[in-house]
Assembly symmetry: C2
Homo-oligomer: 525 residues x 2
Amino acid sequence: MSEQAKIQTSQAVIVPNETFLQTADQLKPVIHRKETFPTQIVEVSANVNAIHGWGVAPVGGVESLTQRIFGKGESMILDFGDHRVGHLSFDVKPIGSPPDAPLKMKVTFGEMPVEMAEPFDQYEGWISSSWLQEELLLIDVLPQRIELPRRYSFRYVKFEVLDTSPKYRVSFDHIMCTTVTSANAEAVTPLGHSDPVLECIDRVSIRTLEDCMQDVFEDGPKRDRRLWLGDLRLQALANYVTFKNMDLVKRCLYLFAGVPDQQGRVTANLFIEPSIIADDTYLYDYSLFFTATLYDYYEATNDRITLNELWPTARRQVELALERLDQNGIVRDDDTWWSFIDWHEQLNKQAPSQGVLIYTMKRAFQLANEVDSEYASILAGRIREVEALTVHALWDPKLRFFISGAERQVSWASQVWMVLAEVLPAEEGRALLMRLLEECPSVGMTTPYMYHHFVEALLIVGCKEEAVAQIKAYWGGMVADGAVTFWELYDPDNKNFSPYGSNLINSYCHAWSCTPTYLIRRYGL
Amino acid sequence: MSEQAKIQTSQAVIVPNETFLQTADQLKPVIHRKETFPTQIVEVSANVNAIHGWGVAPVGGVESLTQRIFGKGESMILDFGDHRVGHLSFDVKPIGSPPDAPLKMKVTFGEMPVEMAEPFDQYEGWISSSWLQEELLLIDVLPQRIELPRRYSFRYVKFEVLDTSPKYRVSFDHIMCTTVTSANAEAVTPLGHSDPVLECIDRVSIRTLEDCMQDVFEDGPKRDRRLWLGDLRLQALANYVTFKNMDLVKRCLYLFAGVPDQQGRVTANLFIEPSIIADDTYLYDYSLFFTATLYDYYEATNDRITLNELWPTARRQVELALERLDQNGIVRDDDTWWSFIDWHEQLNKQAPSQGVLIYTMKRAFQLANEVDSEYASILAGRIREVEALTVHALWDPKLRFFISGAERQVSWASQVWMVLAEVLPAEEGRALLMRLLEECPSVGMTTPYMYHHFVEALLIVGCKEEAVAQIKAYWGGMVADGAVTFWELYDPDNKNFSPYGSNLINSYCHAWSCTPTYLIRRYGL
């Protein structure tokens, strides 16, 4: 998820459901640990052809590590060869006279070369610099094994010796990262795809998901390390076809259901430490995704006990969303709401949110058929009604696109969500998407999260070839640009794009970007 | 001690005496802990009349602490009201929305206001910046109690919030320092002096000693936190009249005797962690002080077992020192030796070192009389001989001063050490010191360590009044300039003096400066 939403605050009063929270607590996952090691010593230097303008070149093997001796102002960059989430530890020993002053050093972690190259103290982005991953170490006693207590997310790590004394220098050895994840790699069935590009994209997707699976499904292990509903829904879908950790999805659903506000509304995200706290951010689409995620979970597990327990929460999200419709049956677009949809400043959220609503109502209807037949019949009528009003109010027959908001904005997001909501017959949805590709309206897509929905929309109207082409162009583009996990943000036309004002702060292992494995495996691409 | 000596390195081979090291290990002191708290919130601002140009003014009581809320870029300075050596801990809690980014903050410790006012990153002194006391903290989970593992030496502590997020700020509470020392304050007899200035100087001396008494006698708790023989000798003297921790002196003597080089020479200083290591610095005067310190210890304790065990080490230092005399009976002054004496770039070390030798020979003679009558008779002859040669070679009858080195330098240090060595009859020594005060040769004294020896020289020739005047002017000057513990360096005529190129790095609680309590109590001032 994004920071934009976080500026919103509300006066919600939380009414905890202790039974749900206890259930969630009992589902705390086992954390798998693995020792991983750097694969080479590298240098990062300016390269206009490389992502963010920084290229990486090997300068030595790790077997030469103990021969390298570092004095004041000297540094090295280690490449772990792949993305790692975990705890760094290393030996540091003095070379020369006994150390007559502490060792002062800095350790900087980077998912990308840019984090090794551009100094953090020049960061002027608008979200907190506290996300930039670094440690200042003052080490009084040498030799010593250093075990950094914080969890870091990185591929590269820079060791900088800021000061020793004229009498000694230092060397490093046994550098390792003990990775942590609640994903069990052995549960994954190899894809064995004949197309090496899709095979590679599948692998990078799975690694992205793996590194985001911790005590809960996190959005990104570098930033924000938080359980967001929009990310959870996509992670759960990718998880069902890979790690199959059903209990982790169940845990997250119970957590969200455990801290509703006084209206029964589910928050957009949760803080897990020091205790479960519902963030004071509520998003129209994200609350509805509780229901959609429960639907997907039930489809994957047939876990009727959980469905029975969580159904009232799922139903409540739909009821609350329906309360926001105006007399024309369209979600009110004013200053009193927030909906996420995509990271796009100009995007009007009305029509895509209307799409999310209908999409969710149809899934709620199917769940209601299982456990709440009375509400099922209510919903059946409401779905017909809202769909009709939606086409009436938001479909522009001249433009042949759905419009959104007072300015009648034509965006990609609106068309995509109307197709996902199956507001039009499949053939018309397909034509709409083809027209979208042809006419390319200017309010486009900015996140892998939105690209996922576009590709899935293509797939449900049968445009498999176009879907594969989109996956290869977009996620394949990240791989070509060096991704070992998929990124929070990627704009092929503006690779320096950051909604935060700096490439340093973007997350380069981000849950909402992990879905190609789901798309490939679920739709047999 | 100083850094100058540390640049020296030697190829000494250490021959450990495991029995001695075991004895030292069994004498590890009990560490006394006490919870101490800040007394006020202050600000530090430019003030030409204050030491180093920085004045301190209160801006609030600590009872207002929890009302103070800190966002990005905000800071406060706490005054603990006295010097503290120990571990800082505090509560930090978020104010506002749940923290959606880590807290990034810096904690800076200062013995003096200058350390709160001048940024450490502009430090350009020539000893390691790693001594500057700071911590960069990245705190993932809030609220939290933070317990900094390192031991710090300070009166002031600055809390700077470097970043939070737009959604929250923080407040601090229950800030405390758990002080550590091996000194037992209850063992000190109150002085109850009629002169409030001497009473105050005695108290500040004792606090200085207390804060330097840790696992061993350290030179300074901020820097270098090391066991130096020159400091140990003075600390032991002050300890005998205050805390009376005889075992700590004994432990330190066994430590030095436990790691001689292959010649039997005692190092100038020891590293204690991770294990006992003899530094590769050997100083002519400091090695001799092993013998002088054993003499003082025996005088204070009458501990004959220790004397018997350590006598061979003590005797060996004298033998090695005598080997350095040339055919004229004067210590050879060339590039193959180091002697400390004082922190003065122009000072020639020959004559003062000769004084240290004779001073020590006389004490070794008395010890030998107890345990080694054969060497006692050898020494008796050598003392007479060396004294005569010294006067012959180094006394300039025209100048009526002792001269030192090829340039025939007249320094304060040379006169002081010749008086302490009692090379001249008391009356002549007294006249020499009076002449010194009158003529003020330009190669003066720069450290409290040297001032101590000057004052003690005055006292042994009966100049009590002048001694008190010196103590009041010098140590009293530090008190007037705000000292709550005595400083490593103090030049009343140049209060910004630092041999390291920056006031930031000086130590402001330094063992060799703690002796006024000894001088006052021992000589009944």
